[in-house]
Subunit: 249 residues, 6 copies
């Protein structure tokens, strides 16, 4: 990754200040017996990196903690409150704006971060700072087209064929396919309507069947997400009067 | 690193819940023309990893953002407020406690994080959660013994021979020695007593002379810091009644 | 409504303290040229009343203000911040718990309230207080089956045939059908991904075609929502060990 | 009520944006065995409506919850903290200002709301937003002149002849005079100087003698309060340079 | 003052931990051309000292800053926000409780501190800490009986014969009677109902006529306030089950 | 002290508004068996007064409470949280700025106040308000040169020869030398790295040997601190473009 803040000096950051900035939002959260706690950080970082390449944007260091209270029933999950998460994003957004980047793009890899990301975006909008919140755009259609196994629930991908394939594409060295198990929970009628520990639903922490996962599927999913994201970014830049020429050099 | 949360599954985290947990505190901050913005994150992570190995402790994902307002005069610096930083650490500390780890050790690589780390430790102490804040213990003596160049100021090591040597030991691929310059600022009489942008003092962002840096010196510094840290951890565990046998397997 | 806090004395509240409590979440927000600013409050209150009747639950006074920043482009919208809204709900939840009601059911009539309702539910859950967040369950299927006009967008019902029909069923005296207009906005690719004023999309404030609305359709929608809600409440009570006998007298 | 936000569309709100806006502050609080929990909301709303008519002001939806911790000893009381209440009022005040109304008038019907209303007014004043806090002006003289029974204490009217008469004037259908009882508590020397549950003082929740109440007295009280309020509003508008011609059309 | 924390050692504080603790609440606020900015602190401290003597209570250091936004129109006024003031009192109350003092008595000398003192008392009550808020009890009757000049307004004593006499009794060396002037403002109809700078009402900062002030009157006022306070303290201790024998040795 | 807010009227404050303002930060904290709880307030006030004289600055009333959690193991300590302390300082700083004083100088007499003072200075800097935080500059060298006894630890002076000598110079009437004892704690390896009650280290509350203290040494220490402080103030004023002529009349 050429334009990563992790590798750039301050002088290079200054020269790149006209470019969009992308912040990956991850989590430290259980992901079944075959995947590490860092899945959401790795995936958000990987997708964000591909998007940054496509856009000529700078890639900021990924946030490795997120709002993951629903997974606290399994050890290894470390969650920020929604309020803390929103503050972190807002502070970073103010810095991005001060440096001169025309907008902040949040590339979110974890469901629990959606509400705090939107809240931070509202706070920053009130200060005149443009923020786009991306949550793997297009994923539902892509998963339907690319994956073999059935999804465990609507819009719900966790430690399954989707996430495992993407991990095989991005960081195969930390995936242990031999431990992968399938688990299809019975979702109660009030799923999503009350605070709930996912452990009530899945003892293994898997939601669906990760066994047919392949790196190839993972790459196809990532490419599709990036393609959908580019459309959102184009609309966003148009709405904010950010010219492509200004940042896509 | 065997016991890194980034690589462990939730089941492995559960099995390791009797061990101490180490959280590296980094920053995204200017470090002169020859070092990347991620220096403090890389160094805190590297020292924390070595300490975790020595202790048989688990290593948590490093926080890549910290309180760095004094460096906002240079592009590339992204700072959290002290309040946000303290909340992040406190949230993580509560999770560490819930999982069952007997204590949280903060391994801090950036000056601005000291106050929020101490504030978070106070908050957590009031909830019965034990926290130790380590700031490169022993560094002043080690720097005096190991480094050739003079330090720019008391207890002040930034983009100099200390930090550059440690980077050469841990991540030489992101160090560009050919760009290294020496700069010895004139510290005003009120240095440290008022909010101040470091850019007023050093245009290059360097404080001291990084040119004599070597990976060997860096390894010696890290080894010395870890040795000093082990003494603090031993005293800390004794004070909190944490038996070595419980975590140092 | 027999068991409405607005009409009950404190002694009657004491006698009803074993029952579930339902709090309607409304808003003061633009709803096109033919509907009043109170639509979301009226609808949430009406559905909550029907659900309370079906459950033998007590009905709390509806909150007439909600998080409606996206509608601030039209006059007449008065929005609470998400943080304020979450605090209001949490304070009420603590009172409900103190009185002895076994759980709080939020019956939400406005999109912007979802995130603060969920945040308040998380806060209350951490204090051992059970909360269920209902957002017109089953509405998408019901709207597809009952309404003639096309919806303006996915899961998006605002001043259209759905809301207007429900208003005709609950408060026809404040509906002025002669002013109703149809408007089908072009949603940009980044709709839902950034803070946005709805006025950018619809000058009239209508999203869809309210003209085929009838009170009969409204009653059918309300009946269907209540039926779906009863299933969620049953699952919720089972999960929390609240026996039907305790509250459904 | 012609100019009620509950009945107006956004276009009508836009046309009325030059008018003063009145927000009734109520509560959900015990009011003895003969009055419902909504007394303060009904009364504040009724007085605010009469004042709005007299001024040509717009009437905002009443807040049905307030700061009522002193009544938590009786079931049925649902209290917001003072901090939450102040935030709610401040958020609404900012919206009123954004729409263009020249000032916000708070018409408060509950003692506990005084401090948060004043705090919100201070916050808004610092942002250049004009707020007037009305607490039934002139009530003490009016009660002395109109009511037959003695008041239970200085400036203290709760579920007594004052409030019951006003309820008989505004909402007789929820008053059950046959249950009305008189109770004259012994106020301890430190009454008003410490946090105290009113239940320590009055088991019934009545303070005084509601039995001589009549709707006629209630109308006289309301008329007198409105007359006194008009004088305050005139002084307030003069102090803020708000011309009568601008809003009293 | 025998039992003043300012003079006691920690061992003496430990021995006195069974006694009531009195915290004077002052302000740094304009008090006309003849009185210093510290009037409220001096008076609250003096009355609190006399009360502490009478009760055998410990006297805590006076808070020299309070909520005084209404006086910011005159230079020399330094105001805390109501929120800050409430936090300060609450923190001190928690310490008083930790040490073992059975209750905290706030002796308030400044109008603006009333709301934050009451808010802090509510917060502490929720934690089981007993607090009594005293605001010069009995002052209105005493002023009527002892002072010659007319009061400027109801319950309003500022830089007038009351405060000046009390200052002559407690700290005559900082009173400059030769500069004393009388000023009787016209209070507008909305006085007390909106945020207002007192400078709009009184250019000199005096409210009433300080010229007939004498130290003798001041002593009589202080004695009367202390006598009234003792009655409140007795009721308060009875309500909280604090036996006189436990603290009045 | 000629220019003390405690003695000045608002008119005098107005005339002095071009001068620097000095705020002493104290504490209510145990100081061994021979010193009162007010040591830090007395010393900060005394040094601040001497500095104000030298600078022609105004002296604000000292804050008698500070962040002293580490001393809560001894009775008599009353601590503000760091957050509360920072808010108090920030509120005062805003008032100082509003009055027109060109800068606020914090003269801190207590270790625990350092972090909140720095945090407040950062907050105020963001609002364009200049703040200098002075912590007895030069004390380490002065103590080494003037005192006979050995210090208990690095940069750690508490109830020892330094503080006792300064008290003998400023307020000998509250020092009871006959009770003075020496105590040299064993500092554990993790001293300063974790929340710790000082009572674990010193039962008497003394750190070092106060017995050789004299008023003469105290005066020399104070003179030296003031001399060092003047250098910092000069640099600070130069950095902020505050001309000596403007304030040093």
């Amino acid at each position: 990754m050429r334009l990563s803040y992790e590798r750039m000096t301050w002088q290079e950051a200054g020269e790149a200040s006209g470019r969009l900035a992308i912040l990956p939002l991850g989590a430290t959260e259980q992901h079944g017996p075959h995947l590490p706690l860092s899945v959401d950080t790795v995936l958000a970082g990987g997708v964000a990196g591909a998007l940054a390449e496509a856009l000529g944007a700078v890639l900021l260091p990924a946030l490795p903690y997120g709002e993951a209270a629903t997974s606290e029933g399994h050890p290894g999950t470390l969650s920020l409150t929604a309020d803390t998460m929103a503050r972190v994003i807002a502070d970073i957004g103010r810095g991005v704006h001060r440096i001169g980047h025309p907008a902040l793009i949040l590339l979110n890899g974890h469901f629990g971060n959606r509400a705090p990301a939107a809240q931070a975006a509202e706070m920053l909008a009130a200060e005149g700072i443009a923020v786009l919140c991306l949550d793997y755009p297009g994923l539902e259609d892509l998963a339907g087209a690319i994956c073999e196994s059935e999804a465990a629930g609507n819009h719900f991908y966790h430690a399954d064929e989707v996430e495992t394939s993407m991990m095989l594409a991005l960081a195969p060295e930390v995936v242990r396919m031999e431990r992968a198990v399938a688990e299809y929970p019975d979702f109660p009628a009030d799923f999503g309507s009350r605070p709930m520990l996912l452990r009530e639903l899945s003892e293994s922490g898997t939601f669906g069947d990760p066994r047919p996962s392949t790196a190839e599927k993972g790459r196809a999913l990532i490419d599709g997400i990036v393609a959908a994201a580019l459309l959102e970014v184009a609309a966003f830049c148009e709405a904010h009067g950010i010219e492509a020429g200004a940042w896509q050099r």
